[in-house]
């Protein structure tokens, strides 16, 4: 990677780092609009994070270093993944053949530490949340990996930025149905992994029904700011992945492409907000079926591309 390339990527990196809380704001505004309310100010997520960063942190005596490491490792893992996932332009900071596996496991690492930190508190609530998170995480992982297989076969690459890059436009022409299924699977993965309705309800105050929120109940101050930011970052990363797959841009769109992606991300947030505003959450024991649906979609897509590439 040349210095010149780094210089062109860095401004984009700055925008990408600042963007995630704004997407949360777009979702909140959409939901407020559906409910006939004005909603919080656009910059509220930033204010909240700044406030949390200036606060002190309370640690329970029953916790160990694992509890303190949880939010930091999670955020670090996601930030590392962010260097390999194309967000606005097709460029990435780091990228090498096989990075797709690293990205998947960086997500898993972040989840692992969030879960361990939750278990570390010894609270029955957090244990319950951890068990749900792991169960549902296990079920959305196959969908993600099978989607990656489809992309790899379709683009003949194992480097994420290429797998979701311009060659996909050709793949949409040759194996369109498979791409459609992958987009569907990734949408479900996005909703599940970022704890949105119909899988989880990020707005609820009912601990017994929560998945993600209940695992972070004991975190406070800067730790909680990291968690909120990491959750927003995860939404942006998985959302970008989905957009790159669903709406591939041709090479050489330059600044127009970047602006278009920004717009698309905003629209994606609106769509997620609209889903949250118009349907109820699934009963918890139905969630596995929903996630299995994602695996079936990506499994079918895998079959299609494999047959096509050999046939």
């Amino acid at each position: 990677m040349s210095v010149l390339r780094a210089l062109t990527v860095l401004p984009e990196a700055a925008v990408v780092l600042a963007l995630p809380p704004m997407l949360m704001s777009v979702i909140a505004k959409t939901k407020a609009w559906f409910a006939g309310r004005v909603g919080p100010p656009w910059l509220q997520p930033y204010y909240d994070m700044l406030k949390l960063l200036r606060k002190g942190t309370v640690y329970s005596r029953t916790t160990t270093w694992v509890f303190r490491a949880g939010p930091i490792v999670n955020l670090a893992a996601l930030l590392t993944a962010a260097t390999m996932i194309p967000v606005l332009s097709g460029d990435v900071l780091l990228g090498f053949p096989g990075d797709v596996v690293l990205v998947a496991y960086l997500f898993a690492l972040g989840r692992l530490f969030t879960v361990l930190a939750a278990m570390d508190t010894g609270s029955s609530f957090e244990g319950m949340g951890a068990s749900r998170e792991v169960t549902f995480g296990t079920m959305s992982e196959p969908a993600l990996f099978l989607s990656f297989v489809v992309l790899a076969v379709a683009t003949k690459s194992l480097e994420l930025s290429e797998m979701v890059g311009p060659p996909l436009a050709i793949a949409w022409k040759s194996v369109g149905p498979a791409m459609l299924l992958v987009a569907g699977a990734l949408t479900i993965v996005l909703l599940a992994e970022t704890c949105r309705i119909p899988v989880d309800d990020p707005a609820t105050h009912l601990e017994l029904t929560m998945i993600h929120e209940v695992m972070v109940l004991d975190h406070s101050g800067p730790d909680f700011a990291f968690i909120s930011y990491a959750a927003a970052l995860k939404f942006m990363l998985l959302g970008s992945l989905l957009l790159h797959v669903a709406l591939p841009h041709a090479a050489g769109w330059g600044a127009v492409g970047v602006l278009l992606r920004l717009l698309e991300l905003g629209l994606l947030a609106v769509v997620v907000g609209a889903i949250e505003s118009t349907m109820a959450r699934l009963r918890l024991n139905r969630v596995p079926l929903f996630l299995a649906g994602a695996s079936v979609l990506s499994g079918l897509a895998t079959a299609i591309v494999l047959v096509r590439s050999h046939g």
Binding site: S124, A203, T204, E207, L208, T209, E276, M279
Partner: protein, 517 residues
């Protein structure tokens, strides 16, 4: 079947009636349980079971059994005394009639009376007995917090885990402690420990100024102020022998149904909040406020405080106001209909409601459930219809019944009741009878006992008021419907997923304060 047979000693009274205390037949404490339980075989429902300390130091137990289809209540009593240094005891009812469980625990906790053979003998509200004698489970120790010292039912096993919720909750709700025995996500058993809001309300009802004690009745369960005031006024008016005017009765009915509408609409919205269904949650939340505002315009209080007093009501609804209210109710009827049609047509909503928190008809009968929770299990009971008083004698509201006993059924019963209350309001606001809205109640009949019932939006509230030989109130027993229904909630959770608890809880929406008194 005839409710009262000639051979059995029972006294029949009706809602809003008063009788001499001496006329209540007394049975021996040994045969009390058998006697009361026999009323169940005749189709009775245990409406109230309470104790009263006698001047001699003993305890007099009173049982009130309701025969809803005949529209009557039957009373009997038994003296329980301590003999030979033994604590006072009698064979319990609960073993044969589970509906008595909370009442017998209450009596044991208040007076240290032992209900022998009670299968679930634990503190109900966690306080000392009135004379400091030890309760059956031991003397009261205020140094230990309730969840720490409560003998919770426990399930053992390798993968069984316990989840404790409350008494401080994440939402703005009343305090109560919930202890779940879980196997994974499945709830094997839920135990509910209340008592955090015990204010000792019943003695406060004895204030010599009837208007002051009506204030207390209104605050026993603040969201059912009108319902409680209505039952209290019925008992007091029975003792005073006063007949309120039809105009006052109509205004009371309007206030009661406005209260029901506000709460039912709010509950349906809260059910939607719990399942994350935003549009209905937001709109129903607003509509609840609209109904509260209607009550505000009638009496200056969103919760109908200070409207009902023994002898009538304090605020009139003039024809101009009635016309304005009627127009607003008609507008709200359309809006409510729209939102609820949308909500009940949403498959993702129905998928969450159906089959969640199921109670069978048998369970509901055994536990003696009341109100919408009972009607959702197919129990056809509604005080407005079974024991009508005031306006409900002339304007009949059909009873809304569902049969599936799940969250869906409890939601549908509320929906139906909303529709019927709206129709009632439109009718009553259209043309009201004339008459003075208030007449001072006058002296109470001495040595008497008056009974008042009302169908609050949660179910049957009941007041039994006693007078002494000077015609002063000497004892009042208040009952909020919640005391019947809390155990129903615990039973409904068995075998359910723990993540469905908030939804089940909301579908019952019981009063903590009303239970704790």
């Amino acid at each position: 079947m005839s409710p009262s047979s000639a051979s059995a000693p029972w006294l029949t009274v009706r809602n809003g009636q008063c009788v001499d205390q001496a006329a209540v037949p007394s049975v021996s404490s040994g045969g009390f349980a058998e006697h009361v339980v026999s009323a169940r075989g005749r189709g009775g429902r245990l409406a109230q079971l309470f104790g009263r300390r006698t001047p001699e130091g003993g305890v007099m137990l009173y049982a009130v059994v309701a025969f809803d289809h005949a529209g009557v209540l039957e009373l009997c009593r038994t003296p329980v005394e301590s003999r030979g240094g033994e604590p006072p005891a009698y064979p319990c009812l609960t073993a044969h009639w589970p509906a008595a469980q909370a009442f017998e625990r209450e009596i044991a906790e208040q007076y240290g009376v032992h209900p022998l053979g009670h299968p679930w003998l634990k503190p109900l509200r966690y306080h000392a007995t009135d004379n400091g004698a030890p309760a059956p489970w031991g003397a009261f120790d205020s140094s230990k917090p309730i969840p720490g010292d409560y003998p919770f039912y426990r399930v053992d096993g390798e993968e069984v885990h316990e989840v404790a919720v409350g008494p401080v909750h994440a939402g703005v709700i009343e305090p109560g402690h919930f202890r779940f025995q879980c196997h994974g996500e499945e709830v094997l058993h839920l135990e509910i420990a209340l008592g955090y809001e015990r204010r000792g309300a019943e003695p406060l009802l004895l204030h010599p100024n009837a208007a002051r004690s009506a204030l207390v009745a209104e605050t026993i369960a603040g969201d059912a102020s009108v319902g409680h005031a209505l039952a209290y006024c019925a008992a007091l008016e029975a003792l005073a022998g006063v007949n309120i005017s039809s105009r006052a009765a109509a205004i009371r009915g309007i206030a009661l149904e406005l209260e029901r509408l506000a709460n039912h609409v709010g509950d349906l919205g809260a059910l939607c909040t719990d399942i994350g269904f935003l549009p209905a949650s937001a709109f129903l939340g607003r509509l609840r406020g609209e109904f509260l505002s209607l009550t505000l315009d009638v009496c200056g209080s969103r919760f109908g405080r200070n409207l009902l007093r023994p002898g009538g009501v304090r605020f009139d609804i003039e024809s101009e106001l009635a016309a304005a209210l009627r127009a607003r109710v008609a507008g709200l009827q359309k809006e409510v209909q729209q939102v609820l049609d949308m909500m009940f047509a949403q498959s993702s909503v129905l998928a969450r409601f159906e089959g969640t928190g199921v109670l069978s008809h048998e369970q509901a009968e055994d536990l003696g459930l009341v109100g919408p929770a009972a009607r959702a299990c197919g129990c056809r009971r509604d005080v407005r219809c079974d024991h009508p008083l005031g306006i409900f004698r002339f304007s009949h509201i059909p009873v809304s019944v569902e049969t599936t006993g799940d969250v869906y059924a409890r939601a549908v019963v509320r929906w139906l009741e909303v529709q019927r209350s709206l129709e009632f309001l439109l009718e009553q606001l259209g043309a009201k009878p004339e008459g003075r809205i208030f007449q001072p109640p006058g002296a109470l009949r001495p040595n008497a006992l008056g009974v008042g019932l009302a169908e609050t939006w949660r179910g049957e509230a009941m007041y039994v008021a006693f007078t002494d030989d000077a015609g002063r109130l000497s004892f009042v027993k208040a009952k909020d419907p919640s005391i019947h229904n809390w155990f129903g909630l615990a039973q409904a959770l068995r075998g359910m997923a723990i993540s469905d608890f908030p939804l089940c809880n909301k579908s019952f929406n019981l009063s903590y304060a009303g239970h704790d008194l």
